[in-house]
Amino acid sequence: MSHMLNVSCAPHVRSKDTTHSIMFDVAIALLPTTAFGIFHFGYRALIIMLVSIVACVGTEYLYQRGMKQKITIEDGSALVTGMLLGLNLSVEVPWWIPLLGGVFAILVVKQLFGGLGQNFMNPALAARCFLLISFAGRMTRFSCDGVSGATPLALLKNGEQVNVMDLFLGFIGGTIGEVSALAVLIGAAYLVWRKVISLRIPLVYIGTFALFVLLFGGHGFDFSYLGAQLFGGGLMLGAFFMATDYVTSPITPNGQIVFGVMLGILTGIFRIFGASAEGVSYAIIFCNMLVPLIERVTLPIAFGKEKTENGK
């Protein structure tokens, strides 16, 4: 043989999945709800989405350039953060809100903590909460069909009735990406089919929350109330797209269950006993911070190390 052979350790074959392919699968899965948001809210929704994406990707590029790091915007993670941030904003916000949010998400939450894989909170949600606290009025002004109005959850909180079917399909007020539970579920089904996410966190989260609402919601087994709680607000988007964020959710199987249960309970407490009608974002970023603890107590038992062995 004329040339040098490559000598490296086993294994010598790798799967085709890459960080890039996973991130683009998430981006594809967000398309149905993005498209519905634009259809429902009009061109302003598109502008907010674009500003948010450009802000996130641009910040990542400029930061890595300035720090003389390897530019990694092609891995698609900033794109996904940008999409999620845009989907978490009301169509009524001024253009500089997504810009500021995008810079905060990437610069403060992601890059300053070490970049991809090192952020301790979901960047998009952390940015949303930052904006919510800083600009409460602008962030909570919602509209539907051009008419300003309260979100279904706010109506529910005031004891009014809502149409569950409208909620499920998305003909309601809310942020761009959360209105249509159906569109979110279509995207989620794509992610499950592509094996990008497992159903462990979302199902435990939604199940726990549903149970919490039944027990403490004060409406007993009222299907329309429960349905409104499940399909109204950011629960579906949060459960399938943000609670499942790899970086900020537990890596251990049992930890994912604990994480889901805690999310369900916290969301329930925030929504039913809290001052605000919504609680998904706060529940998720709060639980994000508990992930290292959850992982530490839920390490799996190694194969063959179980104590209950026959004879041993």
Partner: protein, 440 residues
């Protein structure tokens, strides 16, 4: 029917179609054969011949060097040319006995004589297996007679024949099961004679339906033997996961199969036992798959031990293009080779020539904590966390996170989307921990 399996594992591209249909072909050795004294786990064997001696086919040329050791047997007749240090396939250097082939193939006394195993005592069978130099032919090379001599014969409930062959590309066990199933079954029956209470199980992955059917037909009348189809999944053939799939019993890395009442033999090992016991032919050959997308005519060979890897490559028609990597063994656990002028030993399994793989060549990037490594790890450990402590050399923390339970199967590295070199880091750390234990 629910197929037996374990939790975790991966489904790499099989690549078995390259050599699956090719019947085993016997390969004639060249002029020079090289027998390393260390082709098994345990103490190296000690040469009992000197330079200039004449040896015959089946003659012992090195004695076992301890309890866990195995003798080395000549596969040709001829003159001992040299006894010197040479480089082996794994890159190590070891003492080798070099024999010049006289091409007469004169057999040593008694080799080839037929014997009826039913008339032999347990001690006789164990002695034959020991003297025949048989070691586990699945690749690990653990001396078989040690395996067949547990503390208490009556505590063995299962004798399992490992026909999973879960490594991609490899087809040698499959060909053996298809072409000489009687040998394998008889080998198992000999093992069962040692363990009167045990049941015999032939475990085969269900990507080999014809082999399963053939074996099922063959053991239909045998009350003590059954065939167990396994789900096709890597590393289904890993000893610990195979035992769990077949019997539901679990052993950890510091236990032996006998602790769970099991004895596991590879397909070719069972065949080697049969040949040694029934045909008085010690271990002087093994089956090797020569394959990969850079090989002209991928196929399966019956190869005398001591032959040179280059001869294997030539017999398969050579290369179609410059290979990126040549691997001794399968793509998941085999070792990359840097030269081909090294001898085939008892624990060689395959010669794999791979072309450049775009994915493998990718630079590792940041971990996104996707958890794929955790869900595929058959040892139920958390490779993602283990990696950090391994690269920082934190031995204590490494053991705490069950790093020593890693079987180095490579599943985590295979699935990692960031292409991080997890298994590689674990292998290094495990070696360090093992070396430190020895020092103490």
């Amino acid at each position: 029917m629910e197929l037996a399996t374990f939790k975790g594992g991966i489904h790499p591209a099989e690549g078995k179609e390259l050599s699956k249909e090719k019947p085993m072909r016997e390969l004639k050795p060249g002029k020079e054969l090289v027998y390393p004294v260390s082709q098994h786990i345990g103490a190296p064997a000690v040469p009992n011949v000197a330079v200039g001696d004449m040896v015959q086919v089946g003659q012992k040329i090195a004695e076992a060097g301890g309890f866990i050791s195995a003798p080395v047997i000549a596969s040709v007749s001829g003159k001992v040319k040299k006894i010197e240090n040479r480089v082996l396939a794994n890159g190590n250097t070891a003492l080798c006995i070099v024999v010049e082939n006289d091409e007469q193939y004169t057999k040593a006394k008694g080799v080839g004589e037929k014997r009826d195993y039913r008339k032999l005592s347990k001690e006789q069978i164990r002695e034959i297996v020991k003297e025949a130099g048989i070691v586990g032919l699945g690749g690990a090379g653990f001396p078989t007679n040690v395996k067949l001599t547990p503390k208490d014969d009556s505590k063995i409930d299962y004798v399992i024949i490992n026909g999973a062959e879960c490594e991609p590309y490899l087809t040698s066990d499959y060909r053996m099961l298809l072409e000489q199933p009687e040998r394998v079954v008889e080998g198992l029956k000999i093992e069962l004679q040692l363990f009167e209470r045990a049941q015999g199980i032939i475990a085969i992955e269900n990507n080999k339906p014809d082999a399963i059917a053939k074996l099922e037909q063959l053991v239909a009348q045998e009350s003590r033997i059954k065939v167990c189809p396994l789900q096709t999944k890597y590393p289904q053939g890993g000893e610990r996961f195979l035992i769990y799939a077949v019997t539901g019993r679990k052993i950890n890395s510091s236990m032996l199969p006998a602790d769970a009442g099991c004895v596991v033999s590879n397909v070719d090992t069972a065949a080697a036992i049969q040949m040694a016991v029934c045909e008085s032919t010690p271990l002087i050959r093994r089956i090797i798959t020569v394959t990969g997308n850079a090989i002209k005519e991928p196929q399966n060979f019956i190869v005398p031990t001591g032959i040179c890897y280059q001869e294997l490559l030539d017999a398969a028609g050579g290369l179609t293009c410059e290979p990126e990597k040549i691997v001794n063994g399968g793509p998941m656990m085999g070792k990359a080779m840097f030269r081909l002028d090294v001898p085939v030993t008892k624990n060689s399994t395959a010669l794999l020539a791979l072309t450049k793989d775009e994915v493998s060549a990718m630079e590792p990037s940041a971990c996104i904590r996707c958890g794929r490594c955790v869900s595929v790890c058959p040892g139920h450990i958390v490779p993602q966390m283990l990696y950090d402590v391994a690269v920082h050399g934190e031995a204590e923390q490494f053991e705490k996170l069950n790093g020593m339970e890693c079987c180095e199967c490579g599943s985590c590295t295979f699935v990692c989307p960031a292409k991080r070199n997890l298994t590689q880091a674990f292998a290094q750390m495990r070696a360090t921990v093992m070396a430190n234990r020895k020092k103490k």
